[in-house]
Amino acid sequence: KDLVEIPSLVTEVESGELPPIGKRVPQEPSIVDLDAMGKVPGNYGGELRILMGKQKDTRMMSVYGYARLIAIDDKLQFSPDILKSFEVKEGREFTFHLRKGHRWSDGHPFTSEDFRYFWEDIATNLKMSPRGLPTALLVEKKPPSFEVIDTTTVRYTWHKPNRQFIPWIAGPRPLQLYRPAHYHKRFHIDHGDKQEIEGLIKTERKRDWVDLHSTRDRWYRMDNIKQPTLQPWMNTTKPPAVRFVFLRNPFYHRIDTKGHQLPYIDRVLMSLGETKVIPAKSGSGDTDLQGRYLRLDHYTFLKDGEARYDYSVKLWKRAQGAHMALYPNLNAADLQWRELLRDARFRRALSLAINRHEINQVVYYGLASEGNNTVLPISPLYRPKLQKAWAEFDLKQANELLDAIGLTKRNDKGLRLMRNGAPMIIPVDTAGESTEQVDVLELIHDSWLKVGIKLFTRPSQREVFRRRIVAGQTIMSVWSGISNGIPTASMNPEELAPSNKYQLQWPQWGLWSQTSGKMGEAPALPEVRRLGELHSDWLQAASTEDQEKIWKEMLDIHADQIFSIGIVNSTLQPILVNNRLRNVPTNGFYNWSPGAYFGVYKPDTFWYANR
Amino acid sequence: MDDLIRINDLRVEFSLLGGTIEAVKGVSLRIRPGSTVALVGESGSGKSVIAQSIMGILPKVGRITAGEILFADPDRDGEVIDIVSLAPDSQDMRDIRGGSISIIFQEPMTSLSQFHTVGDQIGEALHLHRDIGPREGRELVEKMLELVGFPDPAAAIDTYAFELSGGLRQRAMIAMALVCRPALLIADEPTTALDVSIQATILKLIKELQVELGMAVLMITHDLGVVANVADEVVVLYHGQVMESGSVEDIFGNPGHKYLQALIKAVPHFDMKTGERLTPVHEIDYESGPLMSAKEPWPSGLDEDATLLSVSGLTKHYTTRKQSWFGSGEATKITAVDGVNFDIKRGECLGLVGESGCGKSSVSKLIMRAISPNEGSVTFNDRGNMVDLFSVEDEEMMQLRRKIQMIFQDPVGSLNPRMTVFDIIREPLVIHEIGSAREQADMVRELVRLVGLDPRFLNRYPHSFSGGQRQRIGLARALALKPDLLICDEPVSALDVSIQAQVLNLFKDLQKDLNLTYLFISHNLAVVDYIADRIAVMCRGRIVEIAPREILFRNPVHHYTRRLMAAVPYPDLKRKLDFSTFDKSGSDEPESWPKPFAIGPDLPSAMFDLGDEHYVLAAEGTSPRELAS
């Protein structure tokens, strides 16, 4: 196919600074079939302005860029991207084939050496990684064997299946198995010039060469402008800055069907500003593509500016299992409460006593869907009962359940009394970042009163919030639900099982499984133990069918046990798009993982139409 | 119009919360160009208010309700302007004020800004009214300062008010008023803070300028001696009304009105016999009041006439550090008090006179422990218990303070402007927790009555009083505690002779009845002569002569004492001062005094006993006979 030179690079090519397009694109480029995606091929040029809040948000460019060895497509399937292809045998032997002629953004070839460098000089180097390999690379604590087959082929082999491997590689913050070896070697004690390294350590006041090396390795944040990348845009602004300029990567590996190297857009301008002001700035046309830091309640305001600033606001769906969920702390330190909270009837009663419809109407304009903290309909694992179980507004049943537990005594205000005679007041901790949470809690407060339970909102700061939950000082907390609400069976169900200490409903049990029983407590409830088992099973499952079965059982347990009380999900996310910007889907889902926010929709295929 | 100023039927009202006060009730007077008009009268009779009216600087609450003040401005070829009709802030009025008419305020201590140098403040008037460059201005100011008797005018230009003694501040004020060479000078008690010799110098200066510039002077004063010496015409004011006016000769020679006659009778003079009483305009009965009741008695068996206060070797240096921005500048040491010794017996009144700035106030403050001495000691006899004032603890001192009280020289500064008179006078009682609130109130009323103030004034604040009234507030306060020892620093300087007589009589009576002891500081030698049992004359921080009153002024030995005596103005047209004998600095240098009396750093001197408790300071080795001659 005939490759077309990019207009903005013509002068550089002519002056010899850059090789011509044919030498830049891999011999086997990744060809993006725009038609199949319902997109149209476009023209080069323009700059994409986006707004971000913090310095470290530069990482969003490696998320949005979403060039991954293996990526998820918009149908949630894993497919090779940077890789030309990959093979998986028995779920434990992974062979990766690179594209011939693929180059880093500085023009240096991208080969298996880059994988070797990561594996031998970083991951398994005791100085560089004293804590050993990342968990995703361990199966039953055992590392894989790594082989370089040839310059474009590498292989990882475990003794047992590793089901997390590919999801991790395809993640928004991926398991990065390669590094630009040619760049990093200079700073590695085993490869570089010792004297030079010593000198650099001195001048840059580094602790040692490891420090020196790792401050250079910023592939995720993309804030080392010297470090080559494979992403569609590369950073050209040295931090600290309040405006970052990302230029196209002239050696990018994707082309469209017409032989145009992607991305279409020349530059991405990322401006940093206070997050609270981003909606205002967006509404005044300061951005071309924005989802981050916008909320549904900004929608009307944003709509207001559409005519003035020539953008339109689309409503995408959020893909969390619940936009907001209550987490009873099953590890609460208070014995009485702990006992109550561990009683499934109590949790169900609380769930039944929430008027989700009213909340939906008042806060979400009736546009969200009411129900549990579970997977969304887009997910192949979805079944309506997951959403609806114990989630109808039914005060009668709720009262019956509470009576059945024995909480029959009430005080003169109508509040049920705990066994120690104290009125039943549930303090709900909130990190209180938006008024939305407080509003919803107030609405819940009202309907819970009708079953004799009083809710008391206790705002605190984020860290304090986390800390208290882990320490068991909270009874209940409010946070968003499962972060991956649109899983497929091959995605890790870790969120459904105790897996780390940040889980709000069972932090101690999570910690226990995270540390393999060294810290925390073993799960006390049989259902939770079962979830743990199922999770282990999934990691070793032989087939996708097995995985699906496991997923379903786990989801069922959750729907029945109400370990977290979801309020609504499928809430809407306003996405502001410049009217000239093409190929941005009108309906999409906006999610971290899977999805990488815009990443799954391939921003490198976005382009500006002329007016 | 022939007159420079003619005031016709002037009425001034003050509106206060409780109603209005008419301070000036239809006063008419005239001032002819080049002449001196003396305005005398009872304290609070409206003299200062008339002055303020002429200047157009009445306080906000004051208002001219009727009358006119016609001013024939010589700067405008005698065009007649009615000052009453001018807006006080108008350009016309401002041209007159300071340019054609200037004023010396009654209270020099507070009239100068603390932030600006003396030279700046004096020069300001000059630059406002004369078109003059900065250099020339400085020269003129320097000359003016020299004229009013600043020892080192070039340096004085750059000093600040707080660096000057009361006398020097007053002289700075005078310089400020004269620097523009006005057509009319209003001098409101211009010499109260000055000793007689400097007073004479100043009066002489004014006279000279008057001749030179044809300047008219409105001299407001209580000192009939001054009136007799400088005035051409006299206006006598009583309660805001003119009682009598006429030429000096008429006034002194043929006083017509009863008030004036009474006034002249009330003046103390040197010819008074021991025990003779002054005749005030009205006597006050104090015996019935609470002041006389229950005072801690003097223990029986103790010598009734024991020494109450003994001062020995008292020395005080002030170091003023003339700081420059770079380098610490040389520290100038002023020896304000230089080895002063004296005793005061119980029930005695020791008069302290002397040149302005000689350290009188410093001595009194040292005794009060308001400042600490460099050397010397002060022993106080607390009912037989001799205490060294400089070594007692705070708590004990606090108890002693009940027994030693002081009347401040500066009546304005020593009254808190934010307390009502009632609170001010009551304060010592409150501090020492004496009596119930009711008794305190009674006491306050009694005190106010004793010093001749109207008890209805108790709710007013100090600033709304005339100078003399304020001084009496200070007096009343000092008496409230019924102290054993009362240090009076110029207690009657702002009082007219009748009130002065009244107060002096009160002092005498209290001395007799309560055995009150005084240290009485004054520039008015006649007053001291009247009130004191013994008199000490101070100069340059030292006591140069000390003797019982009968002896001192009748037989002064020391050169300095004699000089002082020569400068006293008498309220007698036949004994006018001979101004030509005064040079401008007021007192010549002690180093150059005639032989045995010269004092200086390398001229050792000692006190010589001349008998009859008469001591004189003279060079060591002088024979007493030599002195007596």
């Binding site: - | 004020r97 305020f105 507070t110 600040y160």
Partner: protein
């Protein structure tokens, strides 16, 4: 005077030392550390993170060391010009600061100047025209500025500037100058943008200044020396400016030391809202994310600035007030 200056400077050393201890204590005070807030923040964005990695970082950053040791190494580093490392920026603190400190001082100074320029004439007017309509009206406007929260004002301005003028405000220079070295054009651009934050921050201070000035002047106006000045024929205005204002100045000068921190504090939130490239936003986010060395060093900068401000105000005071300079009245 020299000895006074030296003495004052020497006193600064223990002061700064004390400040450094308090700074350190204060940033250590909140529970948790940078990593905890890092995790919390990532989770708030829906990102999850490998707990192992966090443990790794924790060791790497030396969070395990005892506080005293960390304090000493921090202070020791600062003495050698090493202000520590920002976790958030993954850069040495000194690099993060860049010219923000300068811009902060610029904005603060401009604000002080603005406040004074507005407050002094109005304060004088109010004092001399006490209880006139002008007095009431200006007081009212001043108080209005005081009563509106700064950032609400900033937000309103932000919105109306946009709707009415179609401009997008915020920032302290045009986008093309961001990150560029200083040039004439950049300075000009900064000046053009400066006034909005200055007005926003300044409004709240002005009222206070006006009222205090008015009160002080009213007190001084009663003094006898003002009458003296008037008696010289000075116009009321000149008499006011030369004497009472001069006396009232004392108060303002002694307040300079305080002004700086209060303006910087007041400006922080405005800076956040208006995305000013000053220290405020960085400081706040550093505090929120517990980026301790960044926050600590920033606080030290600001504290030093204040201490120097106090020094300047003391020296100015001594220079302007003869009573202090000559120590004449204090000789007891």
């Amino acid at each position: 005077m020299i000895s006074y200056i030296i003495q004052r400077c020497l006193i600064m050393i223990p002061t700064l030392l004390a400040i450094s201890m308090i700074v350190f204590f204060i940033i250590e005070l909140p529970p948790g550390d940078y990593l905890e807030s890092y995790v919390a923040e990532l989770q708030a964005q829906g990102e999850n993170i490998d707990p192992d990695h966090i443990e790794f970082l924790r060791e790497n950053y030396g969070f395990g060391d005892p506080p005293v040791q960390r304090y000493l190494s921090w202070v020791g580093g600062m003495l050698q010009g090493d202000f520590g490392y920002s976790f958030e920026y993954k850069l040495p603190v000194s690099e993060v600061v860049g010219d923000r400190l300068f811009l902060t001082i610029l904005v603060s100074m401009a604000t002080i100047l603005f406040t004074w320029l507005i407050a002094f004439p109005i304060g004088i007017y109010s004092a001399t025209h006490q209880y006139s309509w002008g007095d009431y009206g200006l007081t009212f406007i001043g108080l209005l500025g005081l009563a509106t929260p700064n950032f609400l004002l900033a937000l309103i301005l932000l919105y109306f500037a946009n709707v009415v003028f179609g401009t997008s405000i915020g920032g302290l220079m045009d986008a093309e100058f961001i990150g560029k070295p200083w040039s004439l054009a950049k300075a000009q651009s900064v000046l053009e943008h400066l006034w909005i934050p200055v007005v926003v921050i300044g409004t709240s201070g002005t009222a206070g200044m006006i009222r205090r000035l008015r009160a002080n002047l009213l007190d001084e106006l009663q003094k006898q020396y003002v009458t003296t000045a008037k008696a010289k024929g000075l116009s009321p205005f000149k008499a006011l400016v030369k004497y009472p204002l001069r006396a009232a100045m004392n108060f303002f000068i002694s307040d300079i030391g305080n002004l700086l921190p209060s303006i910087i504090s007041g400006a922080e939130l405005v800076a956040v809202v208006m995305s000013l490239p000053t220290t405020g936003p960085i400081l706040i986010s550093a505090l929120q994310s517990q980026d301790m060395y960044l926050a600590g060093s920033f606080l030290m900068f600001l504290a030093t600035l204040t201490v120097v401000g106090v020094l300047i105000s003391d020296l100015l005071l001594a220079w302007l007030d003869p009573r202090i300079r000559l120590q004449g009245a204090n000789a007891k």
